[in-house]
Symmetry: C2
């Protein structure tokens, strides 16, 4: 099952207590694609400017990532700048130069229309729906969003959510979307909007997943050094959906394994700037850390 | 193995979005004792004033809780008042009337001196050590503390920690005690101070435990209604140490089960004011929720 992903491919300039990375590869679709590509072929739909270099494209090469849908247009590539606090627990956005991303209208290449899985990255919910309309018969549709759309386009977002099976958002977004502080109540409200599966990302506190079968809680991997958390949520989504699309079934057990795979990939993402760690990562390392998650969480019956 | 616990027995006046409870039974040793008494006999060392009523004592009756060490002295019982935010995620202390607790000098009855397990509740580290000196040969010593002692009595606290096997504190306290924001680094630093086992309580985000064998992560039970979280941390400690003292061994597997038992008891504590839910709780309900924790966290190998 191949995944079509639509989202941003960007330059990031990131300051952490460990140093600064200038104009390195970023963007939700970049992190998602590389993470998912460990498991299934990925078809990327995004836009970059004339300044986007071969060096950045190299991240996608030698991987099953189809770049036919990566549009290159006149202007500059989306550039985000942020600075993390000393404890890496909060960050300040220094600038958001949307550039060519401001007028992004996803164009789905003909060859992508048969994609069986779709990941709608965090873009205008109207555009998310237009993408979906161009895909013939996706079996698996997952979606991200953010406060900007929850506040600014609530009706459009609701319409999109009706067509989505899996929604991946963070705890603040789940609360805002539902109007409920308590996450169990928030999950019930959000799941009534369409997505049968809600994945609530809580950063260093792990993930809660709500499905028809109940609730699943996974911790984050206790990293001794969080070098740069930029992209961890998108990497989580890529690992999650990539594994799920490769699993051959999407029942509760597969969803749970997918959560742990996503958490595994996200933990590696935090170990270096940009996609640097993901690009050296091996399947054996993924399997090893997955087993560490088993050690981290196992306990016996009373 | 019976547990000697020293700490506070108090009146609490608590405001939550669901209502107000005035002068109800509270105090760290109260929650701890009732939680631990599901598993082992408890010997309580605390002080109350002349105003402490039979109604409150009733909580300890019909349970294996020895009250010989509950001193009654001239004056009023410790009274704490607090108000929770609408989301129950933060609270404001309205008043702290220490009353007889201000001059509390724990006196250990002769019959308690053979106690095999000791829980040093959150009191002056000098007093914690004096308690320990009065117990003959405890096999299991666990301890709580708080920012007030970490800041105000750092040297005395260090001296106490050298004699402790298990320290149970929250994430903010672990960070403050170690001077490290990252919890893996914080745990390494704290464990060098004495306690081979560090339990870091993260409230709604669950628990991390660090032992010689590595790290264990347990989620909090996803409650739909958190009615009143007062005492949940002390209840956790009581369930944890009570189960551990009853387990016959204190290896990593038993410690992990104890963490989940503690989390189970703490979840019940939050369902009502004061000790109300703990007082109606049955062993069967504990076993059922423990199994729910297993469902909440299980996932298969890749």
């Amino acid at each position: 099952m191949s995944i079509l992903v639509v989202g941003s491919v960007a330059y990031d300039t990131v300051e952490t207590p460990f140093g600064t990375a200038e104009r390195v590869l970023g963007g939700s679709a970049s992190f998602f694609s590389v993470a998912a590509s460990f498991f299934v072929p990925v078809r990327l739909v995004a836009v970059v400017g004339e300044d986007f270099g071969e060096e950045q494209l190299a991240a996608f090469k030698d991987r099953p990532i189809d770049l036919e849908g990566l549009e290159r247009t006149k202007g500059k590539t989306f550039h985000w700048g942020g600075k993390y606090s000393l404890d890496l627990n909060s960050r300040e956005t220094l600038f958001t130069d949307l550039n060519v991303f401001e007028f992004f209208k996803p164009k789905i290449p003909a060859a992508y229309r048969t994609s069986e899985a779709v990941f709608l990255g965090n873009i205008d919910p109207v555009l998310q729906r237009q993408v979906l309309e161009q895909v013939e018969k996706p079996q698996l549709v997952a979606c991200d969003t953010m406060n900007f759309w929850i506040d600014g386009q609530p009706d459009e977002l609701r319409e999109t959510l009706r067509q989505v099976q899996i929604l991946l958002i963070n705890d603040a977004e789940a609360r805002e979307l539902s109007g409920e502080w308590n996450l169990v109540k928030a999950a019930r409200a959000v799941r009534k909007m369409g997505p049968r599966t809600l994945v609530v990302k809580k950063g260093e506190h792990g993930v809660l997943m709500f499905t028809d079968e109940g609730c699943f809680a996974a911790p984050a991997y206790p990293l001794e050094t969080v070098f740069d958390p930029t992209g961890a949520g998108d990497t989580f989504a890529g690992g999650f959906l990539g594994y799920l699309a490769s699993a051959g079934e999407q029942g509760d057990a597969a969803l749970r394994r997918a959560i742990v795979v996503g958490s595994t990939l996200a933990s590696f993402c935090c170990e270096a700037f940009s996609l640097d760690r993901l690009l050296t990562l091996t399947r054996r390392e993924i399997d090893e850390r997955y087993r560490e998650f088993q050690d981290l969480t196992r306990f016996e019956s009373l």
